[in-house]
Symmetry: D2
Subunit: 401 residues, 4 copies
């Protein structure tokens, strides 16, 4: 047992921390204001991407030859650092959801043709993508609920359905959707679904409106779209994997995705704690700095302890994914999905409280960090679904006994 | 001891509930969409105001001859009902903050001239007003911190300072500000402040920008403005009360204000619980309605119990204000300020969780209700300040012993 | 709506408060030490009972002509006061569980013979009683689970079963048990059970051992016995009510019982808060009284707010029982069962924390108050059962809609 | 970074788990009943100690040549296992507090004579010891508060003071006390204290009474004594280290002590979770196993996640102590002191709730585990003191910036 990062990780951390200081934090101040209301990131982002490529900080998330070749355990602390500035840093490094998961899917399950057509420009950062799973009418935590149909018709598939909260899909540079739907509603529960590639400009695709997240439209990273698929036709070669493999691919996709989300959340929690401390040292109501008030001290101490616990669990989950595979890491992946968003939410809430009115507005990053974090308590299935599943596995240990 | 409403209250409740059903709830669907981006409420509001006047549901908040003449205990359950639709119902009845508090101040402390000029149109609902206390540079929970200066210069006062989160002030119909500032920074701690009337169009007043609350700008009820006062000159007759009376008037203003906020929050909590229940009955992930899942049942039961407790405490605080005065009700007023926002926040959070992604967006009122509620944990001073003050009074009971 | 106590209540409160000061608190110091290890209360108790009779503070709990004739709303604040010294005050006033519930049952459902034989001496305080419902093998929250059999055999009933946590039953003065069992296991779910009177000295009754509650055997108020009924025979005239009425009677018994428990818990919470405050004022680690530390202040303020909320809800439940009956007060009775023990537990926990090691030991009443309170989170059915039931009723409001 | 145990640890774990199965768990059933009321462990313990020696599971806690020579990181998972049966396993392996800490002090700071006289028999398990620091009159979390005097008088020290909650000191086999007191109340704050060896039979030592922990006197592992030192004289050679070194030695002693406590608490939490799961699988109120009820599943999932987080943080703290020393591990040691007792308390509370009445009594280990755990939230200083200290260090990171 050893709690030190390896040399490669330390090297990447050093370079990434320098990149944050030199490029990312300075870009924060004007970033939201530079947004043009066109659902595309400010132009500044392209400059940051170029710098990240130069710095060798590109596609860090992707194992294997397509990406930087890091293990999950090596990437995790880097994802944490990008989480400190979650609007700017991940896309600057081409490490932003949902592209990351989509690239993983294409790298692992895509045909050569699919990789040439879509993976390559995604790896290059010249286009963006979206992952269209969530639907308004059904609880998407239960994949068997999905209403979208993918019906074979000769050499084509015909896609019909309604999706919402499709992150990034408002961005005009988002050119390709991976759509989850049912190819065979009569098949066994977990082989009804398939994933299929749908170019944004296919007839029948309507990007209807941007959904909000506690008032934010997140326009500067592509929003969250409601998208209608009305008898959309694509060639059968657009199917990813085989018919019925959609659920299995989505599970494969979610493992690393959760690690990444959780690590970024740790970074967000660290940022919030830093903001809480600096505020506490400078704000002096009633003649005494907040930093000397017991309740604020309790928040700070609790935050530190909770962050350390959460980070270790995320790192262990990453280590297990690397050593025994996603399946062997199932309990730990589910555990971090359960604990990290709520932990980070708690910390940001306390940071907001130290800022008073300023904490809920646009002059600190806190309110927006909060909205993102709160949403992750229900994205990919609400916490409650994961708790139930985890509890069942725990109980099973005693069932056979 | 008697927990039944009196006859007058029951009559008002009946009429108000009918008004909600007939006018308010039907207006909800199109209201936000009707907003023109001009920081003014949608035109629909004027129609609702006319109906409320006709229905005898106007200025209910105001005791005495200027208003409906209800006691706090009579008004509280009516405010609760308006809280079920907090964007639309309160202004429809001319019972929306901050006008309510401002009208109270003018009714109680205003000169005849001030009442003629500003109270009358406010009571008629032809103009709106704002209350400019909070400042970005200092913790406003500590009134002695206030940086804005109100300096006497001959027959005028000269006002210089920066305020933010001035609710309603972005609304072009908001014509008058009550500004809190220091007339004598050298005086004893609680007599340094004064309140003064500043018409919006006075030279030197700049309504700088709208502040956000989580992602909301609340444009449809006048936003929350940053306002700069740069050597703004008003006649000395604009002073409310005497020099140094600002802190005392603000305390008088806050008592009923908190009751109103808290009662509306109870209504918001009831609305959220209703939404949680209806969702739980209709949403069926994994083949079982949410309504049959233990965790959701626990949320519902906890919500019911917490709401009942909170409502009773608010009603008792109102009763005390009526029977022993605001000062005698100090502990209870502070208690509801502490407990009601956090209780309501908890309930809305759980309602959101039952809605999944839909809960954080624009298709249910929940996310916006949440943002409002969260903000009330820090408006009028963060909970922590009130807890400290309440604890000291509790401890004092044992000090003399 | 009126939050003031009526005159009669105020009169009783005044006299009871005086009795507490003159007799009860002074008896506390030596009480536990005076306990002889014989499962009977210290002799001092008889002196206190005599004084309470003289003071007209006897059988206050019992409505109607058998008792003091108070309403639930009038008795509730008196029960609260006795809860401040829960080992001594309730039995001193002949208002201690389980006798109170048993007397209610006998007064309401007992035959004249049963009343003469058992109710009279209980009302006089010359004997004690026990209520034998809970069983070790089944979840007693579900009455249909009960395993004890009450089988008719000619002119007798034959009782066989095992009960535990039968409070008061170790006390040699406890002469009569009301036993819950099944007379007809094949009947409909809620009419299988009956209650029957079993004198302690009946052959086949074995009072096996005292059960502990977090290490306490509660010997000074009769302990909590495991009792075995092995073919115990009693005349059929010992049946209370009719066969199959056991569940209904137990529900009738529980309503007031919960009010009493909850009101005493409010008194216990007040006592704990008082102890917390006095400790905080006198303990000075690191050169500053605990009373000036923010975290302790937060505990005190939270405690005050929670107590006020809980008390109002208990009082409202009592008022409803008086005005619309136990059934109409169902939600509120269940609500206080859910919220009051956990609230009081939280407060006592914080009080313990201010005392450090002294808080967990025998030199303050806190640890024992805590153990009692914690147990009430599961006595009469765990909180979770009540929450589920309450949630269902809440959901039903929207089902028909 | 590597989350696997090393080979040596795995070997010890395997042997210890076998020892638990073969000797410890089977001894549990009759252990408390075998206790003779003499404040000494049941005779069975000596047999277990002999077996542990044979199994090479003796003095595992002690690094260096006196003990098993394990690192903190190696010992931690073994301490966890002993925590599953915390009354029996630790003393069986001669790894029970307070002897462990006392042996560490003697091994590190004792003179050769002190080691011969006291360390040797402690290592052999032929005597027990106590650590006399806590005092009833002062907050012991603040060492400068200590009231006990250790006054030099020629060749002797004269000790006068009152201590309480001296664990193990009621045990007649407890022959030696390490007493903390002030040799120089006028010295600088942290060099006023010294530690001194006081044999139990020294004139002037009165072991006054056993203190309780919730209702437990913990007689079967030596109780918690109030001890009076009334002009007790010992030779100056009994001083440990030099005058004024008491605080520094106590800090050195507390580091490993906290790790041990926390690791045992993890084991207690695992035991409670196991009991919760087995109960949930077999208890079937209302026709459905507790294991299928959502609220119970939530408890189980939360417990698993919290345990994993807490364990990792304890292990990291152990690793830091081994790699950068106790001082470098300060934040992590304090963190586990803050989080582990409250985490374990939460889990045991939920386990109790699944057992209903049986959970608070003597037929499961839960209630006693709870009492021990709750007490650790205030032993060695209440959580609040540690949070304040940790917060200050966190804030200091931003002070210099």
């Amino acid at each position: 047992m050893d709690f030190a990062f390896d040399e490669k990780t330390e090297d990447y951390r050093k370079r990434l921390l320098a990149f944050m200081d030199e490029y990312v934090y300075p870009a924060e101040a004007g970033y939201e204001q530079a947004y043009q209301g066109d659902w595309a990131p400010p132009a500044e982002l392209e400059r940051l991407k170029a710098q990240a490529k130069l710095a060798g900080l590109w596609n860090l998330f992707l194992p294997g030859s397509h990406g930087a070749g890091l293990t999950n355990l090596q990437y995790a602390p880097l994802a944490e650092i990008t989480g400190r500035s979650p609007i700017i840093a991940p896309p600057s490094l081409n490490c932003a959801a949902p592209d990351t998961g989509n690239m993983e899917v294409l790298a692992e399950f895509g045909t050569e043709e699919q990789q040439d057509r879509w993976l390559r420009p995604l790896l290059d950062g010249t286009i963006r993508s979206a992952f269209a799973m969530t639907e308004p009418q059904v609880a998407s935590s239960d994949a068997t609920n999905i209403g979208t149909r993918i019906a074979r018709d000769g050499d084509e598939y015909v896609i019909t359905g309604r999706k919402f909260y499709i992150s990034g899909a408002m961005n005009p540079r988002c050119q390709i959707f991976i759509v989850m739907g049912k190819t065979d509603p009569e098949a066994a529960r977990h082989v009804q679904q398939s994933m299929i590639l749908v170019p944004r400009d296919t007839p029948g695709v309507t990007v209807q409106r941007g959904m909000t997240v506690f008032g934010y439209d997140d326009g500067d990273h592509g929003g969250h779209a409601e998208v209608i698929f009305d008898e959309v036709r694509v060639p059968i070669s657009n199917l990813i994997g085989s018919e019925g493999s959609g659920f299995a691919i989505s599970q494969a996709r979610l493992g690393p995705g959760r690690i990444h989300h959780c690590m970024r959340l740790i970074g967000m929690a660290e940022r919030a704690l830093e903001l809480m401390c600096t505020r506490a040292l400078t704000r002096t109501p009633f003649g005494k700095p907040l930093a000397e008030q017991g309740v604020v001290q309790e928040w700070i101490a609790e935050s530190r302890v909770r962050i350390e616990q959460a980070r270790l669990l995320v790192l262990k989950a990453a280590w297990l994914m690397d050593t025994v595979g996603n399946k062997g890491a199932h309990t730990e992946i589910q555990s971090i999905k359960i604990i990290v968003p709520s932990t980070t939410e708690w910390i940001i809430d306390k940071a907001i409280q130290t800022y008073g009115a300023a904490g809920v507005g646009q002059d600190t990053p806190l309110a927006r960090l909060w909205a993102t974090t709160r949403t992750l308590r229900l994205a990919d299935g609400p916490d409650e679904v994961h708790k139930r599943s985890l509890a069942r596995r725990e109980l099973n240990r005693y069932r056979s006994a």
